[in-house]
């Protein structure tokens, strides 16, 4: 029984990890721009592309989930991204490097979308471009439920449901060993408490920071793993998005700064044992340090996860770069290998982010010794 389940599980993973192979098809003879495909994947999007196929009339048909667009531009405007993709034809342009490109417009709404950025259209209902190929039109504030925002909500909900199931097994009597999913969750919670919070912040003060550390750890982890699933509702590169890592790193910084004690600030503005003339140099260095630490957190998570996505997609892209299915004999095992490695990285990066956050907080609340 267990064996069968295990086999099914392994094959599901193999299939899921090799799915990127099927999601990028192209017309006969037309080379696939692998770089473009990869960049498109790791960036945010206003629609969730599932697959593209060629219909009987040799036209490309896209299957995607259209996500809602929310703009703040003299009031809140909400509409489906479908209105960009299906109402008017794409406008073809030639970019600065001489390559063909296109953007979508909806003249009725007065907005255009170019490289997933939404711009206000000009009088002629078009976008203006500068010499480098960037659109110069004004941008409304974009609060759309993009692919990443959707994943954000979905993962939060999924995490809550999973953890809720775990908590239920405690209801009867807290004295029994954990059962069901709690058997998996509890050691991780205890690990975060003992090896991350207690080890770095200290026995006395760790309790206050546990909600942040636990939430950050589980949230990053589940999103790292969701990002490895190539099809909806996974596959968004949320934890590899700079906005996401920036926000989480900002939380760490705010917590560090606001829980910093006298001792912490003294070390920044009047480092003990440093001569006064040297402080002129030391204070700016220490102040930069306050920002550099969360900055490192932000870049580390972003770079690790994005790199993982790029490697898997690049390995898959080998098939299309060389235009031969025979390359799949190399590319599929390789991307499977990296995929499994990424499962480890998913945990590792969540751990490192939480660990370093705890370390920074621990430094800020440390007593004088």
């Amino acid at each position: 029984m267990l064996n069968t389940t295990l086999k099914a599980f392994v094959w599901t993973i193999v299939l899921l990890l090799s799915a990127p192979v099927f999601s990028s098809s192209s017309e006969e003879g037309e080379p696939v721009d692998v770089t473009e495909m990869i960049m498109h994947h790791i960036k945010d999007a206003h629609e969730w592309h599932i697959l593209t196929y060629t219909d009987d009339n040799d036209g490309k048909q896209h299957v995607s989930v259209h996500l809602p667009i929310i703009l703040i531009d003299n009031g809140i405007k909400v509409f489906s991204s479908k209105r960009f993709y299906h109402e008017e034809d794409a406008i073809e342009i030639v970019n600065a490097e001489g390559k063909k490109d296109h953007y979508l417009v909806n003249r009725e709404l007065g907005y255009g979308i170019f490289h997933e950025n939404i711009y206000k259209l000009n009088q002629a209902g078009l976008l203006d471009f500068d010499a480098e190929g960037h659109a110069t039109n004004a941008k409304p504030y974009d609060f759309s439920i993009t692919k990443n925002v959707f994943t954000l909500f979905f993962s939060a909900l999924l995490l809550f449901v999973l953890l809720r199931l775990a908590v239920k097994s405690y209801k009867n009597d807290g004295l029994h060993p954990p059962r069901g999913i709690a058997r998996f969750i509890e050691p991780i919670v205890v690990f975060v408490r003992d090896d991350i919070a207690k080890a770095n912040i200290g026995e006395k003060k760790y309790k206050k920071f546990m909600p942040f550390l636990l939430t950050a750890f589980f949230f990053i982890w589940i999103n790292n793993m969701l990002g490895l699933i190539p099809i909806i509702p996974g596959g968004a590169n949320l934890t590899g998005n700079i906005s996401f890592t920036l926000t989480l790193a900002a939380f760490t910084m705010l917590i560090t700064v606001f829980s910093g004690n006298k001792n912490y600030w003294k070390h920044i503005f009047a480092t003990p044992g440093v001569p006064i003339p040297l402080l002129i140099i030391m204070i700016p260095v220490e102040v930069i340090g306050v920002f550099a630490k969360p900055f490192a957190l932000m870049v580390r998570l972003f770079a690790n996860i994005t790199a993982g996505h790029i490697i898997i997609l690049a390995l898959t892209g080998i098939i299309f770069t060389f235009g031969s299915a025979a390359w799949s004999a190399l590319s599929i095992p390789m991307s499977l290998f990296i995929g499994v490695l990424e499962l480890l990285v998913a945990f590792l990066q969540a751990f490192i982010f939480t660990m370093l956050s705890a370390l920074f907080i621990g430094e800020a609340v440390a007593e004088e010794h």
Binding site: M39, D44, L152, L159, L163, V167, Y170, P211, I242, S243
Partner: protein, 164 residues
């Protein structure tokens, strides 16, 4: 460049979602789990402490028992020793007493025997003297009953004196 430019919308949604998630999870998940884990750990710790305490107590009791046993044994030994000494003393004293008594008895007996003997010897002497006197008297009476015999005796005496 797009890749490393933070997007306002996503920052906003991430912040909002994370804060809400943190509060919800804290209330519904972390608190119950931490409470259960701490509760269990406290219980285990308590049980361990109790076991340790009981063990220590048992160890103490055991030592106490051993000490008691040892003390009892020492006491017993002492008592036996004392009893032995007492009994030995008693025997010894009885022995010496009886010896003294026996000696006394023997001495007494000896003294009385001596006395008896002396008395008997004295008696015998007296009786012998008496008897000798009586015999001498009888002899004398018989011998000196005639003149002749008196004459003879006087001659024998005179003979003795002459020899001197």
């Amino acid at each position: 460049m797009d890749l490393i430019t933070p997007d306002l919308g996503l920052v906003f949604w991430t912040g909002l979602t994370f804060i809400i998630l943190m509060f919800i999870l804290t209330k519904f998940i972390w608190k119950p789990i931490m409470a259960a884990v701490n509760n269990r750990e406290d219980n285990i710790q308590e049980a361990l402490d109790m076991a340790k305490k009981t063990k220590a107590e048992m160890e103490k009791l055991k030592t106490q028992n051993a000490n008691l046993l040892k003390e009892a044994r020492i006491e017993r030994d002492e008592m036996i020793k004392e009893a032995k000494i007492t009994s030995d003393g008693m025997i010894e004293s009885a022995k010496s007493k009886s010896k003294v008594e026996a000696d006394k008895i023997v001495e007494n007996a000896r003294v009385s025997i001596e006395a008896e003997k002396n008395a008997a010897v004295a008696e015998l002497k007296n009786q012998v003297a008496t008897i000798a006197l009586e015999i001498a008297e009888k002899i004398l009476r018989e011998d000196l009953s005639s003149n002749e015999k008196q004459k003879q005796l006087a001659e024998s005496f005179a003979k003795d004196i002459n020899l001197n």
